[in-house]
């Protein structure tokens, strides 16, 4: 079940150091364009909407809805293959981007497209955490 998902350590690359450091403090950062204002995903110091190199971080709300998902019943991925079944999803953040992630703290059979979710962080033990999403009861939507 989802509580046993592995927490693989992300490879921190140039341009994503602050993003991953913030996860250790329970913050989900997004980059946005200082010229056209578009939120950027995946994080990169470049705006694919207008081509600007002027970008900066801001803290996302951590809320969103499930855009799509799959319940994985067979997996060859180390760690994950011992945690079947689990849910891989794209969550549409309130800020716009659709972000690949896991849905956790929920029976996989209960996940639906459109379900409100909020971010939770799973510590990797290496100074950062994975952003996953759980059902968001405060959103008050029907599930």
């Amino acid at each position: 079940m989802s509580s046993t998902l592995p927490n693989p350590v992300p490879a921190v690359s140039p341009g994503s150091e602050e993003f991953w450091a913030a996860t250790a403090e329970g913050k989900l950062l997004l980059r946005h364009c200082d010229d056209c204002g578009t939120p950027i995903w995946y994080p990169r110091p470049f705006c694919p909407a207008c081509g600007s190199l002027n970008t900066s971080w801001f803290e996302a709300s951590g809320r969103g809805t499930v855009y799509t998902f799959t319940v994985v019943h067979r997996s060859g991925v180390p760690g994950y293959r011992d945690a079947l079944p689990y849910v891989v999803a794209y969550v549409e953040l309130a800020e716009g981007p659709r972000v690949m992630t896991n849905i956790v703290d929920c029976d996989p059979d209960q996940v639906t497209v459109g379900m409100p979710v909020r971010v939770v962080f799973h510590d990797t033990g290496q100074g950062n955490a994975l952003y996953r999403f759980q059902p968001d009861p405060s959103a008050g939507a029907d599930r």
């Binding site: 578009t38 990169r44 855009y67 799509t68 799959t70 994985v72 716009g96 690949m100 497209v113």
Partner: protein, 389 residues
Amino acid sequence: MSIRGKAFIAGIYEHPLREIPDRSNSQIHAEVAAGALADAGLSFSDVDAYFCDGSAGFGPLSNADYMGLRLTHVDSTETGGSSYVVHVGHAAEAIAAGKCQVALVTLAGRPRSAAMGGGRGGFGDPTPDALFEGLWGMSGAVTGYALAATRHMHEFGTTSEQLAEVKVAASLHAQHNPNAFLREVFTVEQVLDSPMICSPLHRDDCCVVTDGGGAVVVVSPEVARDLNRTSAKVLGHGEAIKHAENGRLDLTYTGAVVSGPRAFEEAGVSHADIDYVSIYDSFTITVIETLEDLGFCEKGKGGRFVLDGTLVAPHGRLPFNTDGGGLCNNHPANRGGMTKVIEAVRQLRGEAHPAVQVPNCTVALAHGTGGSIGARMGSSTLIMGTEDA
């Protein structure tokens, strides 16, 4: 400048094996190259252009060396499984521009016998997208296609039964192909009863994993005229990259919405003119979305379109993948674009299996998909005709 009628596919060859534990990739490239050249009535010394994907070695250098090719034009465009459809289009462009006369395109790989390199051919640093998408237990290509299938079902009411019809149609064709990896005829119930891999995709919604490869030879009209072999005329080609759109990705359509119209326009044909289609079938959902995007039915109606034997040769409304496709016959190197071109040429030559040969097949379409419709992908559409088309 249009490529219509400026190039011909004179030779094709699909490796007959599906499990090849004892040969190098380069050897398989050379075997399929020899096969396609022999089919055309040409030899290695006639080849002046070579096309391969990024897994073939150090671009085109390794195989040019292995096969002793003397080349004045090369292209190693890498768009995953759609690469070889792109290569035929690029070969036709190069021939039309007078850059070459005889272009060899090859594919080989052994995912059944030996682990393939990781993403991007296993070379270089991981790209930034991979750093954010490699953390969540994506288990091979199926997970991304499942994400697309869920969304397609949500928006359009597509059902698992409709997806299964695609496998059934492919299997009805594969039963006639002695080399097919799966020759059994599937029922919708069998597909639905097969193990769930990534919901909503079952095992039998997925293509086969096979070793092998294939090759095609594209030649100028002057070369084609002198050969004692029926060629397929290249009529039109389109290609496109669809990506995650800065995180605003829409999984209900593919890059075929761009590559398809461009190919039709160049070919100067309409949908009603198409007698046969090879549609990339890594998964059943790939076929449904691609048929919609190519305009064979309305967006969202692909599931209904494939019911009632639409795709079944020879008499369905739109016969597809008469070799059994990637779903049943062959998906060499985990890449199905090459076999899509090959079966379309067989149909245009009238050399498909008699049980699935489309009568009077004069115009055919082959479509390749590469990468993942769940994130970023290449699409390539090729329209071909008989020599007098």
